[in-house]
Symmetry: D2
Subunit: 137 residues, 4 copies
Amino acid sequence: MEMIYKRTAHYHETDQMAIVHHSNYIKWLEEARVYLMNKAGVPYSLMEAEGVLSPVLGVSIEYKRPVLFEETVYIHVEILEYTGVRFNVSYRVTNEDESVLHATGSSKHCFVSKTLRPVSLKKKYVKMHQLFEQVIG
Amino acid sequence: MEMIYKRTAHYHETDQMAIVHHSNYIKWLEEARVYLMNKAGVPYSLMEAEGVLSPVLGVSIEYKRPVLFEETVYIHVEILEYTGVRFNVSYRVTNEDESVLHATGSSKHCFVSKTLRPVSLKKKYVKMHQLFEQVIG
Amino acid sequence: MEMIYKRTAHYHETDQMAIVHHSNYIKWLEEARVYLMNKAGVPYSLMEAEGVLSPVLGVSIEYKRPVLFEETVYIHVEILEYTGVRFNVSYRVTNEDESVLHATGSSKHCFVSKTLRPVSLKKKYVKMHQLFEQVIG
Amino acid sequence: MEMIYKRTAHYHETDQMAIVHHSNYIKWLEEARVYLMNKAGVPYSLMEAEGVLSPVLGVSIEYKRPVLFEETVYIHVEILEYTGVRFNVSYRVTNEDESVLHATGSSKHCFVSKTLRPVSLKKKYVKMHQLFEQVIG
């Protein structure tokens, strides 16, 4: 199930090349992920309220075409894999009609408790587990 | 007691005016404050370990001369007032020989518990209170 | 003429106090300012295309009530003064029904050329000048 | 030729998991890269003064162990490949004695003119090209 998160580039996100600084894409991917999980009924804030954190294990981005101040990008976000213990997310950052591909990316995540110990949703948080399975579809 | 915190501007701190974005100065002032408190023997990490947080109540900056990528600034930081419950900090951002004044600023702080309730260092954390009083001198 | 800019706090904007880090408010004020100027018909991108930059001369914020991850704030933004050479902006950050005041702030700005030399809109950019005068009302 | 860039985590870099937010590592890698190029005699600021920009084509990070506020990391940075037109950099983020591996990463870069058109250092900037070749060793 792919979702599309829409985002306009802020002035404070530009650098002296007059393009959005590449580190901000990492923040955008997170925003898209949060958006996806809200839509899927498993908001981060709920997860954290239940004592489950979801740190990033890895992230990878290919920058294709720069994004300028005030340009609006459309981040196509999708959970590709979910094992009950880990999940992978993929991203495509495009313009509105998808004629421009700004970037592609992926990220890997696990679940941990507030003391940062690994947690299995599948075993300990069955309802969240089911919601995740639905997102994969 | 004035301390000087030295800081070089990073590329990711610039914006498309080719100067350090003004929001980063707020981060720099925090870094200078953390530096001061470390030197004064009351590091933030220790305070937080004791359950005391020190949120910012207000901050004010005048921007005089832009800072460019790779320029090094010297942040002159000083606690101006300390009441046991609140404190004020002042800042001057200059170049090395102080011939250029990049910015001046001030910030106001209080102490709170981890649940964000007001805390009096003077009453509940006597040792930290004494260290703060020494910083004022 | 007051405008209201709506903004939801991102995860990457929180700090280890579990509230939005105070430096992010400065970015939010900028976003609100950009929003105001877009609505007023003088978008930053247009100004910069015409060779006019608008750096921040000063900014001041009072933090009243923290903003948490996923909370939506409403930034009430207004240009209070405009002289043809400088302008001042005021801000109030509230929740939706204005029952919670998160922060108040103000900022001061001038106009400069791309080489950072002062520029008078009133003298050199008559059309933009008129638009600014309309924003004041 | 591996260089080591030392960096202490700032308070404003933490998030509500009480660890350094993963997006900041991208900034740290940039800082390490800038450090490396300064040491190698090809500072970014010089490159940009000559009209050469060096955008990021891709970046990839594996997060192994979180970094906490006030912890100091050592970023081992090395240019792995340089073709005259592109280069790849690798990174390892460790503690001082390398007993803790916080993260590993890599990034890909090219050279462009100020109008963002591809540039060959090898053909157009022979001196810089030679310096780069020395960095590879």
